[in-house]
Amino acid sequence: MNFDLSLPAQLSGALGPELLLMGGAMLLLLWSGWRAETDAHQRNVGILSIVLCTLTMILVGYYAYVGYTASVGVIAVDNFRWAADEIFLLATIGTIAMSLDYNVREGITAGESHVLLLLSTSGMMMLAAARDLIIVFLGIELMSIAIYVLAGINRRQERSAEGAIKYFLLGAFSTAFLLYGIALVYGATGETNFARIYNNIGQFHLEHSALLLVGIALLLVGFGFKVAAAPFHMWAPDVYEGAPTPITGYMAAAVKAAAFAAFFRLWLEAFPSLLTTWHEAVWWLAAITMVVGNLVALAQRNIKRLLAYSSIAHAGYILVAVVVGTRLGSSAFLFYLFAYTMATLGAFAVIVALGSRGEDRMGVEEYAGLWSVRPGLAVAMAVFMLALLGFPIFGGIGFFAKWYVLQAALQSPFPQTRLAVVLVVTSLISAGYYLYVVMVMFMKPRDQAAVLPARAGGWTRTVVWASAAIILIFGLFPDAIVSFTRRSAPVLTTDAPGAAPTPAYQRTAGAQAPELASIRPGLSNTGH
């Protein structure tokens, strides 16, 4: 079925999953405020939130299965969006499940914390759908404001409050960049819709418009902050350390994925004709992020900060897929997001499982000899670490994710060989800190005086095992996900009529035209 997005009824139909989630979240919000704050009530709200997310996942799956399409408009109706939505929802379910145990331990009785996660997720889903700068902005704000609150939900704790304030200030700062960028792009092109921006750039030959270029640069900075790409990553470690652990996991996994989804679509739908302009910038962003994230992570001794830098490094790997930009790049991009989300979520679930009230023991050394007392959690954590490292079989899907990005980088019409080498070398560096965690857990003797970590709650354990199982099973049989993400890829295209290649990117090489065609497969649906 083809949605006509100019009709309100059909637009609502195209926004079905978002409306379901938001509507459900509103009802849950009312219900959670209806009764006094207790652990039991908090738990009920959380379980209902999980049910709501599952329903939304099913609806998204149905939309993907039917294969709806839509006319040009403010939102996209394509598989890229559905694939991204499923990733966000999966991460949300995991986060809520972790929070159920975590909130009881930390004495957080506000059921609203789960509802805020739902609202944040609906913002993410808007980001994945956005085909208009206004929608991008709406999605970012909806997502971020809920997270600002969540980062400080444990308001009695100093560190949590500090992290929340930092996150809020820097988030507002980056949003300002983004907004200013949107304003300048609008000023230059007179449009906020991706397709029309692309159209106007071609039609009015705006490739060298200073206004537009500054606007794009500001957008890049804004998104750089959101995905925590170096050199815009400074906020991440402090915020990750301060925020409640499940929320940290959510920020590292889902928030980053959502910002990336919008980033990817914006870049490839609105500005493909300015390829050489932004390509080089993103190239350097990717390279610097990989190097900085991995090198600084080596020095971390706090597990949450370590994972924060690891997530910065992974932003760099994902940016490689953005640089590649082709159909294959978009497939690799989704695949990587999925693998990264699962591994990060699992790792944070292990941290939640091993934490104690107040979260004061977060040094990696606390895990010394963990294997001898909590063998299951230690093995699961090793799987997540190896997955983030990108190791085959034992790290399951993590290896295939890196492999796919590597393959996409080398298979692009302009093989990104140097970027591939940077990816490989920095992956090796990352072995230094991922293996450090593994080494501490398995090879260091347990401190006799150390307190035995309390048995983790059932919800958290379920998240740990489910993520490990997904990582390992799809690590043996990745084909289902590959073909799904591949189906998701080709629909990612502007609906604008094909414009003639513009001089801006003919400047570098005569052969650059195929690159454009492959970014916008709507123009030429040939594979490589």
Binding site: I393, L410, S427, A431, M439, F442, M443, R486, G527
Partner: protein
């Protein structure tokens, strides 16, 4: 025998079975009930070791049939299977044996049960995990030898790494954490570069639909890689394999890993995992990039490094105070012979290299086992702590002397056959290098005989040494098969050589054929 095996469809299921049996075994062992917390110096869950032993024995029995069903006259893949694995990426699960892989597989399945017997009492804690890791490791090693798809090969190559990392890091000696990390990083860096090269090859051979193709046979047939690129790709493969071998400047992980690893770990490292490197050269680096590997400069550099490795390894071994380290450095020297044989590229030298690979696995494996046995009794590996113990442990002394002589290359024992073939084979193409390498044999005699003299003979002047118990039945049972093979391969290596010859010949023809074509094309230009 052949008819019997064919009647049960042996060739159709043997290779997947070889990969599956250890995995199932690992699960079985992990499911064994844990016995109560062990008292000091007792073995935790003793059932694990016997279950592991029987699984490895089953594995050996299953694999031995290949000895008969393998048909040397047929140079193609045998007992091959081919399943689809990841169709979107053109990755297939393809296995098969040729003459070289056959011997490596048999070497692996032969050594593994002995390695279990060697760990019988020395591994006391976490035995279930230990034996499960050994089993998973076996799947990885066999997978490397059997894979006919480069992607599968890479996966198996990395699969070997993690169990060994844990085996060294958890059950190793005092500096185990350092040694295991060094081992991991040294192996992983060039492996990743090799991965990039594999991606490149797969994409290069991609079909009309754009799906990459990693099939070894298809990649062999595709020859249009530009020469400069081929050199880079060869360099990536070369590094990955040269670290594993290890070749001279890249060998520094080896003494640490071998010394810190528990006995079985050292045996497997020396006996099997070092062969992965030389096997990689024979299977991948040379046939895939004949132009690059036969480039006179490249070839000369590799040969000189090999000869340096032979001499350097022997000289360093000579001055080691630690007997285990001495054996570790002797591996550098022996593997230098293998590299010399491979890159001299005559039929004799390649056959000799293959023989050295097998012999080194047997002899050095036996040496590590013997070191482990004496260490378990005296808790020291320093040569100077011993002296004159031949009078206390005559059986141990006799076997150690015997194995050392085989490692030195005494005619009539296995070591001689391989090194002799390498030397006469490489003399035909590189006489000077062969002569220099031959001195390595003399050094080998020097370091091992000198060490034996100081350990076994001299005067019995330390009171700690007067009450060492001699070898027990288990230890004898695990050494006797090794001694039999040492004599057999020394006296009558013909059955082994005959099975490897067609494959070696094919390899040489392939590499030289390509090289000739390339040089002709060069001349025509």
């Amino acid at each position: 025998m052949n008819d019997l095996l064919n009647s049960i469809g042996y060739n159709a299921w043997v290779l997947p079975a070889l990969l599956l049996i250890p995995l199932i075994g690992a699960v079985v062992i992990l499911l064994l009930p844990v016995t109560d917390r062990p008292v000091e110096h007792e073995v935790e869950t003793p059932a694990a070791r016997s279950v592991a032993f029987w699984i490895f024995l089953l594995e050996f029995v299953v694999s031995i049939g290949l000895w008969w069903t393998y048909n040397p006259a047929n140079t193609g893949w045998q007992a091959g299977i081919d399943y689809s694995w990841i169709p979107s990426w053109g990755v297939r699960f393809t296995l098969g044996v040729d003459g070289i892989a056959l011997m490596m597989v048999l070497l692996t399945t032969f050594i593994m049960p002995l390695a279990v017997l060697g760990s019988w009492t020395s591994i006391r804690t976490k035995t279930r995990s230990y034996y499960a890791l050994l089993l998973i490791l076996t799947t990885g090693m066999l997978g490397v030898f059997l894979a006919r798809d480069l992607f599968l090969f890479y996966v198996m190559w990395e699969v070997m790494l993690v169990p060994m990392y844990f085996i060294i890091g958890i059950w190793g000696g005092e500096r185990r954490i350092y040694a295991s990390l060094k081992f991991f990083i040294y192996t992983m860096l060039p492996s990743l570069l090799m991965l990039v090269a594999i991606v490149y090859l797969g994409l290069h051979a991609r079909g009309a639909a754009g799906t990459p193709d990693f099939s070894y046979d298809h990649l062999l047939a595709a020859t249009s890689i530009p020469e400069r690129t081929a050199l880079w790709l060869f360099a990536a493969f070369f590094l990955a394999f040269a670290v594993k071998v290890p070749m001279f400047p890249l060998h520094t992980w080896l003494p640490d890993a071998h010394v810190e690893a528990p006995t079985a770990g050292s045996v497997i490292l020396a006996g099997i995992m070092l062969k992965m490197g030389t096997f990689g050269f024979l299977r991948f680096a040379l046939p895939l990039f004949p132009g690059a590997s036969m480039n006179p400069t490249v070839r000369m550099i590799i040969l000189i490094l090999a000869v340096i490795g032979i001499i350097y390894g022997a000289l360093v071994a000579m001055v080691q105070p630690d007997f285990k380290k001495l054996v570790a450095y002797s591996s550098v020297s022996h593997l230098g012979f293998v590299m010399l044989g491979i890159f001299a590229l005559t039929l004799q030298s390649v056959q000799g290299a293959l023989m050295v690979m097998i012999n080194h696995g047997i002899s050095t494996g036996a040496l590590f086992l013997l070191v482990g046995m004496i260490y378990e009794r005296r808790h020291t590996r320093l040569i100077e702590s011993y002296g004159g113990i031949a009078r206390v442990v005559p059986l141990f002394a006799a076997i150690l002397t015997f194995v050392s002589l085989s490692s030195i290359g005494l005619p009539g024992l296995n070591g001689f056959v391989g090194e002799f073939l390498v030397l006469i084979g490489s003399y035909r193409t590189y006489p000077v290098l062969a002569i220099i390498a031959a001195t390595g044999v003399i050094f080998a005699a020097a370091y091992l005989l000198w060490a034996i003299q100081r350990i076994l003979f001299n005067s019995l002047d330390r009171s700690d040494n007067t009450h060492i118990p001699d070898l027990n039945k288990r230890e004898l049972a695990l050494l006797v098969p090794l001694l039999i093979v040492i004599v057999w391969l020394g006296v009558y290596p013909q059955p082994v050589l005959r099975r490897m010859e067609p494959t070696s010949q094919l390899l040489i023809d392939r590499v030289q054929g390509h090289a000739t074509v390339a040089s002709l094309a060069e001349g025509a230009r």
